[in-house]
Symmetry: C2
DNA sequence: GGATTTAGATACATGAATGTAGCTAATCGC
DNA sequence: GCGATTAGCTACATTCATGTATCTAAATCC
């Protein structure tokens, strides 16, 4: 009877990854507010004692999991296709937002206890370049190449795409289709940088 | 010894209002996920039994409280001042979002258990015209009067202002200043309806 | 003023999560 | 191989929320 334990004993990195996965699944199911050490431990199939050896409460586990997430893919502006690159950037954002990590971030941001537990530094590390830099990268690229006036690339303008996608996600709870993303680009972002659907100045005609 | 109880006994409307107030305070402090009958009862200084007589769980209490909130003030377009009316509409929205009810809605929307408990109808009643119709009312008014082409007032365009204000609230956690609201109107909304800062077609020059 | 309704004050059994402790045994480093 | 580390297991006292039940007494209706 050498194998009364079904699975080889996990340790170090492997175990921690399992716990990180567990907490991300758990938070999507019950919300950041109802996270418990017990629930995480059960889902990760590990004793609670293992959790207490490393973290002091469920939110710590969650933040740690997010901290160790692989960074999201960055939008990489390629050919001379501003419109297409913007749509692709927003698609990347949607993808991230629907991932376990993205959903976890959403619940954290409206949970008072979680927010209180986050240091500035952690906030920076976890959220920077995720909810806010998808279209900015693309816009900066084309502004630098003179496709539109740099002074139009204000903080507000850089946020338009992300803001509208976020609102849609909250309102409908479902992923925006490619047509939705195109509409956002054509009707909100491009006009803001002086490039209406029919080209510069088209709105006048 | 007729007053061994410090306060006159509350009943009916008065008691219910106290409970509604309590649950709204409670949810802002602990989040929708950590709401408990116990916590609400303590804050309202009433026995738990009183709560169970009317509601079956904490989320029900919260939804009921929101359901009975007085509706928000509606933006009322007045003089011929599209820009000013848009800014005022967004200011109304910020005001609402920072109120107890607004904060409660924010936590509810990212709490899986709460969302699951909301029927379509209740959702409609509680959230309609709150997160989404501040600038739309104004824009519709001026579109009808021919100040800009009606076909430019798409669902996406009607969402721009609310989306950007929401994003700011989430990102910074603080209320946008009037300059911030002006920037949103000038740099995002007006361009989208063909009215750039310098008037129609200005982006071309 | 008497009957009805309903808040307020217990009390209690149950279940869940907490945080700690002690032991066993698998895995790793040398 | 041997010692150090660290999962895994079990137990336990504590705290908190739950849901129900019972009784008292204040407010209201007629």
């Amino acid at each position: 009877m050498s194998d009364h334990s079904a699975r080889a004993r996990r340790r170090g990195e492997e175990l921690i990854r399992a716990i990180h996965d567990a907490v991300l699944e758990e938070v999507v199911e019950v919300g950041a507010g109802r996270l418990t050490m017990d629930g995480i431990a059960r889902r990760a199939a590990t004793p609670r004692t293992t959790l207490y050896r490393r973290w002091s409460d469920p939110i710590e586990v969650l933040l740690d999991a997010l901290y160790h997430q692989h960074p999201v893919e960055e939008p990489t502006p390629g050919a001379d296709d501003l419109r297409g690159d913007l749509i692709r950037a927003l698609r990347l954002m949607v993808e991230w937002a629907l991932s376990p990590a993205g959903r976890a971030v959403a619940t954290i941001l409206t949970d008072p206890k979680s927010v209180a537990l986050m240091s500035e530094a952690l906030f920076e590390r976890v959220f920077a370049n995720r909810g806010g830099t998808f279209t900015r990268t693309v816009l900066q690229h084309y502004a630098d190449r003179g496709r539109f006036p740099v002074e139009l690339l204000t903080p507000v303008v850089a946020d338009i795409g992300e803001a509208l996608v976020t609102k849609r996600l909250i309102d409908t709870g479902t992923a925006p289709s490619d047509e939705d993303l195109s509409a956002i680009v054509d009707q909100a972002i491009l006009p803001a940088i002086g490039l209406g659907p029919g080209g510069p100045g088209a709105a006048r005609a």
